[in-house]
């Protein structure tokens, strides 16, 4: 096996849906992150073997968005590009795909990452309207045209919200928030537990603005320099969070907008390659990808994804939770992260999540130390790459050795990566 390194990385700031970066498309965001990375490293883009980008809401006007981003960023035509989609782990998928390409001797330098503009998720016509528009398009005579026109009904004009259907699992029929409610019920999590976790995420994010700045490259747009994650709240408290109404189960639910991840725009890019590639291009590696695992679970309980993924990654890397100096578990929902930590450490909950027995305790002081997606936002296609980038910078800043990063995946999967700092 070859050693595979993360050689460099950067990201755009993450901006709440409809805010600072809302007017940029996913390919605009991807180009910003890619162009910043190329500028900072001074890398000759012709040396890249392939561009691999994650994107979940792949926009209709940019099929294979990775190729569009690559060309728009000045990466020469001869470098191929592929878009990958493992839902919320698409950013991870880009990294592990590069890892596999390198192991298979396909190349030694990959530009990877993820880009997502959730602000630009489309509104769709429903099936009935689509059929009627098609009929109108085929109509040749005036009568046919009139017939087609008069067949429209008011309900045909109420659109399907792309983002809403995108965040709904078509197999179980539950939307992501509803799967979080399932976990809250089954893992005995109270509203107070979730709000306390969310407030803590906000607090940590607010306290770490400066540390996170090293991950971020400013986006210059509309005469402003956008350089900070704008989902972070200075005024978030448990008390304030307690006043929010549950979103997915109005009566008895515990999952609110405040203890869920935010809907956000952003992009991340990383260079993944071998040590030879690093030397050849004068890059100083950030860290090594030790090993990883993608695993499946019940779509109704997709939030438990990290549990089995971490177990599998531990097995592959021959490491245990105690070996992790820091842990990043994506905060899709407070309920889901807390359910995972309970499942990993507690008899009974462990079996509920499909483990034979608990595999260890995550030291809460090492978990998501800069805050997580509850404060920073979760641009689905990009988050995996952000977690990786952030974990590597944190290891460097704290002079630590190993990090475990993981995320749950809509549709019932989990991904976990073991990373090692190259100090």
């Amino acid at each position: 096996m070859k050693d595979v390194y993360i050689l460099a990385g950067t990201r755009t700031p993450f901006s709440r849906m409809g805010s600072d970066l809302a007017h940029l498309s996913a390919s605009d965001l991807g180009r910003e992150a890619t162009s910043s990375l190329l500028t900072q490293t001074g890398l000759d883009p012709a040396a890249i073997d392939e561009v691999i980008m994650g994107c979940v809401c792949q926009p209709a006007d940019t099929a294979n968005i990775a190729r569009v981003i690559a060309l728009r960023s000045g990466i020469p035509q001869h470098v191929p590009a592929v878009t990958v989609h493992r839902n919320c782990a698409s950013g991870f998928e880009a990294i592990t795909t590069a890892y596999e390409r390198i192991q298979a001797n396909r190349g030694n330098l990959y530009l990877v990452g993820g880009a997502e503009s959730m602000s630009n998720a489309p509104l769709l016509y429903n099936k009935s309207a689509t059929r009627k528009y098609a009929k109108l398009g085929r109509a040749r005579t005036l009568t046919q045209r009139l017939q087609a026109l008069t067949s429209f009904r008011p309900k045909d004009f109420s659109p399907i919200i792309g983002l809403k259907v995108g965040l709904t699992d078509p197999v179980s029929g539950l939307n992501m928030g509803e799967t979080a409610e399932v976990l809250a019920r089954e893992f005995d999590l109270t509203r107070e537990d979730l709000d306390a976790f969310a407030a803590e995420s906000q607090r940590k994010a607010l306290a770490s603005q400066e540390e996170r700045a090293q991950e971020i490259s400013a986006v210059y747009t509309k005469s402003k320099s956008i350089a900070t994650d704008n989902g972070v709240r200075a005024d978030s408290t448990i008390e304030k969070l307690a006043t929010l109404k549950p979103v997915f189960d109005r009566n008895t639910g515990v999952v609110t907008a405040g203890n869920s991840s935010q809907i956000t725009d952003g992009a991340v890019t990383l260079l993944v390659g071998t040590l030879e590639a690093a030397e050849q291009h004068g890059l100083k590696p950030l860290g090594r990808l030790i090993d990883y695992a993608h695993t499946g679970c019940d779509p109704k309980r997709m939030g438990l994804g990290p549990v089995k993924a971490i177990a599998a990654a531990n097995h592959r890397a021959q490491l245990s939770l105690a070996d992790a100096d820091l842990v990043e578990i994506n905060e899709a929902f407070a309920a889901q992260v807390l359910a995972c930590t309970r499942a990993l450490s507690t008899e009974g909950y462990a079996q509920q999540a499909g483990l034979d027995s608990p595999i260890g305790q995550i030291d809460q002081t090492t978990l998501n130390q800069l805050g997580g997606s509850i404060a920073l936002g979760h641009p689905v296609g990009a988050t995996g790459a952000r977690l990786t980038l952030s974990a590597l910078y944190q290891l460097q800043t704290r002079q630590q050795k190993r990090a475990l990063v993981s995320a749950c995946v809509g549709g019932g999967q989990g991904t976990a990566l073991w990373l090692e700092s190259t100090l």
């Binding site: 500028t39 000045g74 210059y220 005469s223």
Partner: protein
């Protein structure tokens, strides 16, 4: 068809009975109409006319990017009197001969088809063009002080109607394939691979039935159209350029006269215009510009030079952003760097705004504009600067610039050209503060960068020939006209321009009416009055350059202390909303009453022409000194630079003519 021709080839497709006339000037990338080509074309027509079996003629070019680039200006500009009349008659006869051939004619145009080239195409029944970006159609004669004299002024209005034809004839604007189709100048646009086959399809259409435009081409309408056009022409040219006005008369009377009368009219007026000094000056200027665009450094083969492929611009102010915009429009990946994130953000915004307005004006398609925007990257960080060229456009402060160049020298590659856009600071001193002074040079753009065609290339005593040659080639590649000048305070253009502006301000302070001063210079032929221009530049900026110049030439230039009052109270010009004039939303409204307070006297030196003479003499004398001191290589260079860099009255031929 036995004789062979020098400039063209004729062959008959025996199967289809179609004649092909292919222009192919030997040892040249362009086809042009000189006397011999005209005679050969005429001869071919006479021969073809006798061939009864022919079903059509297709006229094309063997050159990849040019159909026919027009008349041979070099010869034409030497001709006078009878010789000129002869060539005019010959051109008209050639076009008529084409038009009178007893079968349909198609011009298959794949490239530039301008002036005489278009006049030939207009004599055909049909014109079809390829969709190549090299396709340009138009009649640029009036730009050179003459008019379309081989039937163009007569045929174009009859083909597309007077109201459509006049803008083309009067402005000399060239159209791309798409616009030409919209204006009916061409009948179809097809991919170049299908051009000839499609031309054959057009032969099937037979002769063209010419439109008659009864509602437009009658005395009443023509009179009205002429009046309107004349009004707008006079407001644009202030009557200083006779050619468009004469062309207007010829075109308007042409639609009401017989073909022969109109041709005679073209000849007569062309002859008059061509002997006018205005035409001579404009043609000379055209040649000077063309020469500057092709100039090279002696003994260096441009092909042997390492080309510049990417660039960084340091400083995201108006100039830096303007330069970055221009480079990206020309396909160069450009990094814009500024230490201040807000300044960088507004610089990037400026570039995007320029793209937005260019896209609105259809200079770029949406895709081209996006590509240009994408070529720009921006950073505030100390990133690697392994570029071919770095242009510094930071604040005009020698110590700051020296510091910047010290870090640039460290971060750049050893072969990176380090350029400064300074408008007055000593570049030699900057160069000598770096470890490799031979690769430091001045590339002085003018504001606004997208509109100003001139770039002063400033060589120092230590600039290497290779650096100079690569820079010259780069400036030519980005479509600007380079003039090489020596490193000396103000170089050429600012050294001449700024004292003129300051003197205009001094006249104002002494009591002259500001509008009188500005009007005087507009009448003289400057594109903008000096006080208005000073408002655009900024009084403080003008003063700064004036101070530099005063230090360098203490015997004849002085810091105009009387302007300090206006600067102190913030009447700096457009950027402050008030200078000599008041500005609202960037538009000037009236004279700034506060500025009038600074008038210390009520001296008026006389009529507008006296003012103009006084101010122009300043420019003349200073330009002369620059030539004598060797700041520029020649009088011609100085004239060209002043015209392109300041808008100095082009019809006059420049300050030294």
């Amino acid at each position: 068809m036995t004789s062979t021709y020098q400039n063209l080839e004729v062959f008959i497709d025996q199967q289809q009975n179609i004649a092909h006339l292919v222009f192919d000037r030997p040892d040249s990338s362009a086809n042009i109409f000189d006397q011999q080509t005209l005679e050969e074309t005429l001869e071919v027509c006479q021969a073809l006319a006798a061939m009864r079996s022919l079903k059509g003629l297709i006229i094309s070019s063997a050159k990849p990017n040019i159909f026919i680039a027009g008349a041979d200006l070099h010869t034409l500009s030497q001709l006078e009197g009878d010789e000129m009349t002869h060539i005019l008659k010959l051109g008209q006869k050639m076009a008529d001969a084409i038009a009178h051939l007893p079968f349909p004619k198609v011009a298959a145009i794949n490239g530039a088809c301008v002036g005489g080239g278009l006049e030939l195409a207009l004599a055909c029944d049909w014109r079809i063009t390829s969709d190549s970006s090299a396709v340009k159609l138009g009649l640029p004669e009036t730009k050179l002080g003459i008019l379309p004299g081989w039937g163009g002024s007569t045929r174009l209005p009859r083909l597309i109607g007077l109201p459509n034809a006049l803008p083309l004839i009067l402005t000399g604007k060239l159209l791309n394939a798409k616009s030409a189709l919209r204006k009916d100048l061409t009948d179809d646009v097809v991919p170049k691979e299908h051009l000839l086959n499609h031309a054959k399809n057009y032969l099937q259409h037979g002769f063209r039935t010419m439109p008659t435009f009864p509602t437009l081409h009658n005395p009443l309408s023509v009179n009205f159209i002429k009046k309107q056009a004349k009004k707008s022409l006079l407001s644009k040219t202030r009557g200083l350029y006779p050619a468009p006005l004469v062309a207007l008369e010829v075109a308007c009377s042409g639609v009401l006269a017989s073909h022969e009368e109109s041709l005679a009219n073209e000849r007569r007026e062309f002859l008059k215009l061509s002997s006018d000094p205005v035409a001579k000056n404009l043609i000379k200027l055209f040649f000077l510009g063309e020469a500057a665009k092709k100039a090279k450094v002696a003994d260096i083969n441009p092909k042997s030079l390492e080309p510049i492929t990417d660039a960084a611009v340091i400083g995201a102010g108006v100039m830096g952003a303007g330069i970055a915009y221009w480079l990206t429009t020309r396909g160069y990946p450009t990094l814009l760097k500024d230490l201040n994130p807000d300044a960088l953000a507004s610089g990037v915004h400026h570039v995007r705004n320029l793209y937005r307005s260019a896209q609105k004006k259809r200079v770029f398609t949406a895709e081209k504009a996006q590509h240009g925007r994408d070529l720009l990257s921006a950073t505030t960080a100390d990133v690697p600067l392994a570029k071919d060229l770095i242009i510094e456009a930071a604040v005009e402060n020698l110590e700051i610039k020296k510091k910047i160049f010290a870090t640039l020298a460290e971060r750049a590659r050893p072969d990176t050209i380090l350029a400064t856009n300074t408008s007055a600071l000593p570049i030699t001193e900057i160069a000598l503060s770096t470890p490799n002074p031979e690769r430091v040079i001045g590339i002085h753009f003018f504001n606004p960068v997208p509109r100003m065609p001139l770039v002063e290339i400033v060589r120092t005593e230590v600039t290497s020939e290779d650096t100079l040659a690569r820079t010259l080639q780069f400036v030519q590649k980005i479509g600007k006209t380079p003039i090489v000048v020596k490193d000396s305070p103000g170089f050429l253009v600012n050294r001449v321009l700024v004292p003129y502006l300051i003197e205009a301000a001094v006249l104002f302070i002494k009591g002259e009416d500001p509008e009188q001063i500005d009007r005087a210079m507009l009448d003289f032929g400057m594109p903008m009055g000096p006080l208005r221009l000073l408002d655009e530049v900024g009084l403080d900026v003008g003063m700064h350059v004036a101070q530099t110049l005063a230090e360098a030439f203490p015997d004849r230039m002085h810091v105009p202390t009387m302007l300090q009052g206006m600067i102190d109270s913030g009447d700096l010009g457009k950027k402050a909303g008030k200078g000599f004039y008041l500005y609202e939303k960037g538009k000037s409204t009236t004279i700034n009453p506060a500025a009038l307070q600074y008038q210390t006297d009520s001296i008026q030196i006389g009529s507008r022409s006296t003012i103009a003479k006084h101010l122009n003499n300043l420019m003349k004398d200073e330009t002369e000194r620059c030539v004598n001191e060797g700041i520029v290589q020649s009088k011609d260079d100085a004239n060209l630079a002043m015209i392109l860099g300041t808008g100095y009255a082009p019809f006059s031929g420049g300050p030294l003519d």
